[in-house]
């Protein structure tokens, strides 16, 4: 929970440069730049979510209408208070967008890596029930390892095969979880 403050709290950090995970101090990387559009977008996201909460809370169907402190009351309260705070956040985002110097700057390659990983995971979740765990998992792991920079047949074939076998033995055989 305190990971977000991780680099912020490190006294050795210099302004605008965050220490990288897996790097020595000689290999410092740039911190994420302050972004007003990103701050406004995130505030709008919060506004929509909490607005929807307040709106939908009023439409909760009850078995018995008692009024007062009923099942609608708590989500409605959360939605209303949250909506007010989200408006305040939107104002702050426009007037004084928050600094992001506690985060490392993302890279274009990083966005591609995350996008492909999410897509591969989604495809794996679709494929698993269709073709089975033992067929889908090695292919998924091979693709992931290749995307993450693994090269050579030993890495691309050996690692997925061993990991699939280990997981199958651990979960299916030892813990008796049907995979």
């Amino acid at each position: 929970m305190n990971e977000a403050r991780h680099s912020q709290a490190t006294p050795s950090r210099t302004d605008g440069v965050a220490p990288a995970l897996g790097s020595s101090d000689e290999a410092a990387v740039p911190a994420a730049p302050t972004s007003r559009p990103l701050e406004i977008t995130s505030a709008l996201g919060a506004l929509v979510f909490l607005g929807a909460l307040a709106f939908l809370a009023r439409r909760i169907e009850l078995r018995a209408e008692t009024g007062g402190v009923d099942p609608r009351w708590w989500p409605e309260l959360l939605g209303t208070v949250g909506l007010v705070l989200a408006v305040a956040l939107l104002v702050v985002s426009v007037v004084r967008p928050a600094s992001r110097d506690d985060l490392e700057a993302s890279t274009r390659a990083g966005f591609v890596r995350v996008g492909i990983t999410v897509a591969l995971t989604a495809a794996y979740l679709v494929a698993w029930p269709l073709v089975g765990f033992l067929a889908a998992t090695p292919v998924f792991l091979l693709a992931l390892t290749a995307v993450f920079g693994g090269r050579g047949w030993q890495v691309l074939l050996g690692f997925p095969a061993l990991t699939t076998g280990f997981i199958y033995l651990l979960f299916h055989t030892l813990l008796e979880v049907p995979l």
């Binding site: 929970m1 305190n2 990971e3 977000a4 403050r5 991780h6 709290a9 490190t10 006294p11 050795s12 220490p19 990288a20 897996g22 790097s23 020595s24 101090d25 290999a27 994420a32 990103l38 977008t41 995130s42 919060a46 909490l50 909760i60 169907e61 018995a64 402190v69 009923d70 099942p71 009351w73 708590w74 989500p75 959360l78 949250g82 705070l85 989200a86 956040l89 702050v92 928050a98 985060l103 700057a105 993302s106 890279t107 995350v114 990983t117 999410v118 995971t121 794996y124 792991l141 992931l144 390892t145 993450f148 920079g149 693994g150 890495v155 690692f159 990991t163 651990l170 813990l175 979880v177």
Partner: protein
């Protein structure tokens, strides 16, 4: 006496011992890999430990928690990169010591003070947890609601740079907790005709997504090709008598600071380590050596961060409020096993409390042994390529989550939570308050509604404990805001002085 015997007996079960060793191995490895945090590992392990018996599962989760506190010191000392946030302060003197050719000494000294810190804090747990739980047994709905609010606000003030975003994240967590059946009347809320939503969102999947997957995606996003250059010359290993004597005072100071910080809900080893290091520097006869390879600094930092373990266990088990992020995940697992951490645990399952304490103590002693014997081998782990680590974490998160319900729906929730968690992390919304809100939401809602229906709203401020907790919650939220305003005024003051002086000269 029976409680003690009944509590210690499960540890003689060979399967529990296997779980202990497995947890220690995983915990130490996890700690040694920079970027894999203790909460991430416990969240990941929570998936497949749900298929085990509660004591076996607790043995795995608690030993990962302990083991990570040893492993994370290795990269802090050898590559100046904390293995987990709890080892941030270790880098301040650990790495300079390693650069002086004293890496072996730093690693061994760190293991000793870490062991001492955890054991001292566990003694506090054994002494204080029961009285705190007995006090909390007298809490009515108003006090319980105030306690949840207090825990949530501390979490928000600690984990958020922006209090506004922290509060919104907390409200988000409380809102997600309303999905499913109403805790008082059983009415359906936000189910939209989807059967899976009837019992609410699966919180283990949400926790694994927010802590495990989001952290992994963030690493994928920011990763740059670096060459790790661990210190290869480890030098001598064992401290001299003079060096041991030098560490006594910072060890005592760190034990107190760590235990107190650990008891504060949501505050963890990272904060305690930095406070301990700073306090030891102020009290040292050689403060100028701090940050340049001081054994005192290393001892204070590592004792403080490790002594939070017993403190946070006390808060978690006695009050049912997570002492830190790992304990938040632990509460999630315990609830699924049918165990409710909190005051009632001490009256309903007193032997389980003894078992938990025994697991922590045995894990600490075994961790010391492993870290002293296998230190040289663990150093080599830092060379493991990222593609194995990332692919391994992702597949274990997926399969671990699947095993909690044997349903793909749960895994989709985890993936969605992971993407949401990444967006939150990149925009400064902390995940901690969401998880805490999700876990404690039903407790907060049910107790607030009971208070309002039975005693009316005035009970929240007329009951002394409730009033004190709510005032503390307000202070907790206001303090960082006031501190920031003061800091910005101080920063503006020097630039205004010349202008004011120029104005006067005119």
């Amino acid at each position: 006496m029976n409680v003690l015997v009944d509590g210690l007996a499960p540890l003689l079960d060979p399967t529990v011992l296997v779980c202990l060793l497995a947890g220690l191995l995983v915990g130490t490895l996890v700690g040694a890999f920079p970027g894999v945090t203790g909460s991430m590992a416990v969240a990941l392990a929570a998936g497949f430990t749900l298929t085990l018996e509660p004591v076996q599962g607790l043995a795995v989760l608690l030993t990962i928690y302990v083991g990570a506190n040893y492993g994370d010191r290795i990269p802090s000392i050898l590559v100046n990169t904390p293995g987990t946030p709890a080892a941030i302060a270790t880098t301040l003197d650990g790495y300079p010591l390693a650069k002086q050719g004293k890496a072996g000494l730093a690693l061994v000294a760190s293991s000793f003070v870490t062991t001492g810190g955890i054991l001292v804090s566990m003694a506090v747990f054994l002494l204080a947890a029961r009285p705190i739980a007995q006090l909390a047994l007298n809490f009515g709905p108003a006090e319980m609601f105030a306690l949840v609010v207090f825990g949530l606000t501390v979490m928000i003030s600690i984990s958020s740079r922006s209090i506004l975003k922290g509060v919104i994240a907390g409200i988000g967590g409380l809102a997600i907790a309303t999905v499913g059946r109403d805790p008082v009347t059983g009415d359906e809320r936000f189910v939209f005709g989807v059967n899976d939503l009837n019992s609410g969102l699966p919180f283990i999947a949400v926790i694994i997504g927010l802590f495990g997957i989001a952290e992994l995606f963030d690493q994928l996003l920011v990763h740059r090709a670096h060459v790790l250059r661990p210190i290869s010359s480890l030098g001598r290993w064992w401290p001299t008598r003079g060096e041991l004597a030098q560490m006594r005072k910072p060890f005592a100071l760190g034990s107190v600071i760590g235990t107190v910080v650990g008891i504060v809900p949501a505050a963890g080893g990272d904060i305690a380590g930095l406070i301990g290091w700073d306090r030891a520097k102020r009290m040292s006869k050689e403060p100028e050596k701090f940050g340049k390879g001081s054994l005192e600094g290393l001892a204070a930092a590592d004792t403080s961060s490790s002594a939070t373990l017993g403190g946070s266990l006390t808060t978690t088990m006695a009050l049912g409020i997570p002492g830190d992020s790992v304990m938040a995940v632990m509460i999630g697992s315990m609830v699924i096993w049918g165990l409710q951490p909190g005051p009632s645990l001490f009256s309903n399952d007193p032997e389980l409390v003894v078992t938990i304490a025994a697991i922590m103590i045995v894990a600490t002693v075994l961790s010391l042994g492993i870290s002293l014997v296998r230190m040289r081998g663990m150093v080599r782990l830092l060379d493991l390529p990222h593609h194995f680590l990332w692919a391994g974490i992702l597949i274990f998160c997926v399969v671990g989550t699947y095993t909690t319900t044997n349903s793909m729906y749960t895994v989709w929730v985890m993936l969605g939570s992971g993407v949401l968690g990444l967006a939150m992390k990149r925009t400064g919304f902390p995940a901690g308050p969401v998880v805490l809100g999700l876990l404690l939401g039903p407790l907060a809602e049910a107790n607030l509604r009971r208070t309002l229906l039975i005693d009316g709203p005035t009970a929240l401020v007329t009951q002394p404990i409730s009033a004190v907790l709510l005032v503390l919650a307000l202070v907790g939220l206001a303090t960082p805001i006031v501190a920031r305003v003061r800091a910005s005024r101080r920063a503006e003051a020097p630039s205004e002085r010349p202008r004011a002086a120029a104005g006067r000269s005119r």
